[in-house]
């Protein structure tokens, strides 16, 4: 038995998990309907896939949510996992699940997949026969992913950087890299049986003034960390940033560089997909305005040429949306996509050139790190501020990179810290902004820039 297999047995020997039948799960994946594989749909490229977010604690409620989505013509069903499960606290998740079931009240903010188990969850997944995407935010997702794949969930979101830096203060990042390597290997292993399991990085990060170069670098690195283990279908992603042009430029550069870097490590046979998140920052409380914002995002996603769009709802500012509101956005988005025809192809050569230079410079610095594994190079780069994510709560993040918006709402870097963007690019970024104001005003600007959609 290989070391990985031994590790899997121990992980799946967890006391909260029903007996895991390896052979049966393999058989299930091998014979699973192609419809369940998002990679299969991506490969067809028939249309932009629409995927909402959502997860309820009980099986009943989750099932009802999925029914609403399917009736609204959703392409991909979400399964959002609760926060206790994300922190591997299956004990509390179990208690809260029981309370939720007994009292018909939501004591969890998502679906506790490990406690429900794969046999139960698979019933729901196969009933709807649509691809399901796992949404969570888990540094140690080993057990969760095993349960997910066994349930028929073949789109796995997350990564060691994107699921730690935005959420955690002090989870040891080096451990996260190890745990996500396990996930990549398991996904790669199952991918040999049928259509590939798709992995998706979480591009939005902190969704607060993150400059495109940082977003793209992290996407590329998580992609490489996944591809090098044999994953054959990977989605890079980013969130709506606030400037239409900047989104278009980001989309072009991300697609182009993802392909190039995949080729560099001899993984040109992997399919790379692009996912676009509707606005992830603060939403307007006025629901009609919120609907406009959502429509705008859909238009931008189309121009960008995204393969999948992840929707929000008009109730975003109020909290967890009702299934009705959620399904409504799905229907609206599908309608809008249907009528968006004859979109022009838009390029800004200069912006793209500048962005490519920035990204390549940072990637080169990462690769030049003396560590001999890619994950440790990335870890060291985050530790020494070569990669710096604005507004990350993590103690390892440098917090020296500062960004503001220019007059056209593009996010610009005005202080680069240790991030090695070339001087030419840095001067260009700064030249787009009005830096003659005093620093207190600049901080005020940042506050406004964060809330531009409100």
């Amino acid at each position: 038995m290989s070391l990985l297999q031994e590790e899997r047995k121990i992980i799946l020997g967890n006391e909260y998990v029903e007996t895991f039948d390896f052979a049966e799960v393999e058989n299930f994946v091998k014979n699973a309907n192609k419809e369940l594989f998002i990679s299969y749909h991506y490969a067809k490229r028939a249309k932009m896939l629409v995927q909402p977010r959502g997860g309820f604690p009980t099986y009943k409620k989750q099932f009802a949510l999925n029914e609403f989505f399917v009736n609204a013509n959703v392409d991909v069903l979400p399964l959002t996992i609760d926060s206790n499960t994300r922190l591997n606290d299956y004990g509390t998740a179990a208690k809260m699940l029981r309370l939720s079931e007994e009292n018909d009240v939501d004591m969890l903010n998502g679906y506790p997949l490990v406690n429900h188990g794969y046999r139960t969850t698979r019933k729901m997944v196969t009933h709807f026969n649509k691809p399901v995407s796992l949404r969570h935010g888990t540094p140690d997702a080993r057990l969760l992913i095993e349960q997910a794949i066994a349930s028929g969930i073949f789109d796995i979101e997350g990564g060691p950087v994107t699921y730690v830096l935005p959420y955690s203060k002090n989870f040891p990042l080096d451990k996260a890299f190890l745990y996500w390597k396990y996930v990549e290997r398991v996904c790669a292993s199952y991918s040999k049986l049928n259509e590939p399991i798709n992995r998706e990085s979480f591009g939005p990060l902190t969704a607060t003034l993150v400059p495109p170069s940082i977003t793209i670098v992290i996407q590329l690195l998580e992609m490489l960390l996944s591809l090098e283990e044999g994953v054959k279908s990977f989605s890079v992603s980013f969130a709506q940033q606030g400037s239409v042009m900047q989104d278009i430029v980001t989309g072009h550069v991300l697609k182009k560089l993802a392909k190039q870097y995949a080729e560099k490590i001899n993984c040109a046979d992997a399919r790379i997909n692009l996912v676009y998140h509707q606005w992830m920052g603060a939403f307007p409380t006025n629901q009609k305005y919120a609907e406009q914002l959502i429509s705008l995002a859909t238009v931008v996603a189309s121009i960008v040429g995204a393969d999948k769009i992840i929707t929000k709802t008009k109730q975003e500012a109020a909290g967890i949306p009702t299934k009705e509101a959620n399904a409504e956005t799905v229907a609206n988005t599908q309608y809008l996509l249907r009528i968006l025809n004859g979109l022009p192809s838009i390029h800004d050569e200069q912006e793209e050139e500048m962005l490519i230079l920035q990204v390549n410079a940072i990637m080169e610095a990462v690769f030049n790190d003396p560590a001999d594994t890619l994950w440790r190079k990335v870890f060291n780069s985050i530790k020494n501020g070569t990669i710096d994510v604005p507004f990350s709560p993590h103690i390892i993040n440098h917090n020296e990179l500062i960004t503001v918006r220019d007059s056209r709402k593009n996010i610009r870097i005005i202080k680069r810290g240790n991030v090695p963007i070339p001087n030419k690019c840095f001067e260009y970024e700064k030249s787009q902004c009005d830096l003659n104001k005093d620093t207190t005003s600049i901080v005020d600007d940042i506050i406004h820039d964060i809330g531009i959609m409100q």
């Binding site: 290989s2 070391l3 990985l4 031994e6 590790e7 121990i10 992980i11 020997g13 967890n14 006391e15 591997n88 004990g91 540094p139 140690d140 203060k169 002090n170 989870f171 040891p172 080096d174 451990k175 190890l178 745990y179 390597k181 290997r185 790669a188 292993s189 283990e229 044999g230 003396p370 560590a371 001999d372 594994t373 440790r376 530790k383 103690i395 390892i396």
Partner: protein, 407 residues
């Protein structure tokens, strides 16, 4: 393992030698110096190797002792403690400088005093109370890793003080490397009472490190040889002390260090030299009655000196270490015990206990203390692979190749 290397581990109770994949183990004769004892028992083996190819590590005499004088628990004391523990030092005590006038004076000789506190832009931290206290204690070495402005003043008051850069940077983050290098080098320095160790430089040209330091550095690599699943802990139950090395995601702290694993040591839990104190701790434990019943023995076992008694004590040691890390005993560190997937055991215990015996005690602990069905897997390092792996690697090479496991 490189067949041209001779590895020697000098423990508090016995030596281990590993040459050409051949392991030898000998009880020590405390009537002789370590050097003479080694030569008497293993001369033939040792003579086959040139000093460049001999690597020695030691946890003899229970390792080195330290006293840390710092400003605050969350920063200076915590950082110095973390660095010292991971360097293989055993902590005697920590003192908050503001309380130094009331602090008790240790009577034992201290191997190293570490003075730490204040970021570099702060000054006037240390003064007469520090010098007065130091004049009352016995120590072999003293090192200052506090704020830079005070350094010269402190140096002028303390003879033979080594001054090193601050271990706290301007962002209140830890800087481990310089102090760690200093502490791991201590075996090479003029340590009073450790003459024994210095003699060993007659048979080796390589630096002698403390064993816990070697083990700690090896841990990120052991999953190449063992099916160990993170997060894990490693218990090194020795003759004089028990070390526990734990994966950093088992604790919540705000330290960004190079180490993936931190170490704690329990000086009272050893099965030979510290047998009495182990028995004492065991007797005090409120669960000892049920534990002994579970092991099918009575309290009389504490007075026995048989193989069976040693075996029981080893099982007790496992239980007591886990107990000390649980919420029952709010101590320096509390581990997320329910997240542990593997417990690795190394040291003499692996020649005595079987895997099932170890797992049995571990699951008893989880059931009794944590009322949980959690059962970490026990892995016994019976071939001392961890030690050989650690001693064989070049320690200054931080980017040691990891063996990425096969899918």
């Amino acid at each position: 393992m490189n067949p041209n290397k001779l590895l020697i581990d000098v423990g508090s109770t016995y030596f281990k030698l590993c040459a050409n994949n051949n392991l030898e183990q000998h009880f020590r004769n405390f009537n002789k110096s370590i050097f003479n004892d080694l030569n008497d028992k293993c001369r033939q083996t040792i003579q086959q190797f040139a000093p460049e190819n001999v690597y020695i590590c030691s946890s003899a005499n229970g390792g080195l002792s330290a006293l840390i004088i710092g400003l605050t628990k969350s920063f200076s004391v915590k950082y110095a403690t973390n660095i010292a523990l991971n360097s293989g030092i055993n902590i005697i005590d920590t003192i908050l400088y503001q309380d130094i006038e009331k602090a008790s004076v240790p009577s034992d000789l201290i191997d190293v005093v570490i003075i730490v506190g204040g970021i570099d832009s702060k000054n006037n931290v240390f003064g007469d109370p520090l010098y007065k206290y130091l004049s009352q204690i016995n120590y072999s070495n003293v090192v200052y890793v506090g704020n830079v402005p005070d350094a010269s003043q402190v140096k002028s008051h303390i003879p033979n003080l080594t001054v090193l850069p601050n271990i706290i940077d301007d962002r209140l983050h830890i800087i481990e490397e310089v102090l760690r290098t200093y502490l791991t080098n201590l075996y090479q320095q003029d340590i009073e009472g450790k003459e024994d160790i210095k003699e060993l430089y007659q048979i080796t040209k390589n630096q002698i490190f403390s064993t816990p330091y070697i083990v700690n550095r090896t841990l990120p690599l052991i999953d190449a040889n063992f099916s160990v699943v993170n997060p894990f802990v490693l218990l090194d139950i020795g003759g004089a002390t028990t070390d526990i090395h734990y994966s950093k995601d088992l604790v919540v702290d705000n330290l960004v260090t190079e180490n993936e694993f931190d170490r704690l040591v329990f000086k009272k839990l050893g099965v030979y030299k510290s047998r009495e104190s182990l028995v004492f701790v065991a007797r005090k434990n409120e669960f000892v009655g049920e534990l002994l019943m579970h092991l099918n023995v009575t309290e009389n076992i504490f007075d026995e000196h048989s193989e069976k008694a040693t075996r029981i004590l080893m099982q007790l040691a496992i239980f007591l270490v886990l107990y000390k890390m649980s919420h029952y005993r709010p101590s320096y560190i509390n581990l997320k015990l329910l997240a542990i997937n593997s417990v690795v055991l190394t040291g003499g215990i692996t020649k005595v206990l079987k895997q099932e015996e170890a797992e049995d005690i571990i699951s008893f602990f989880y059931k009794k203390i944590l009322t949980s069905a959690h059962r970490p897997v026990a892995i016994l390092d019976t071939e001392y692979a961890i030690w050989t792996l650690g001693s064989g690697i070049r320690l200054e090479d931080h980017s040691q190749t990891r063996h990425e496991g096969e899918a």
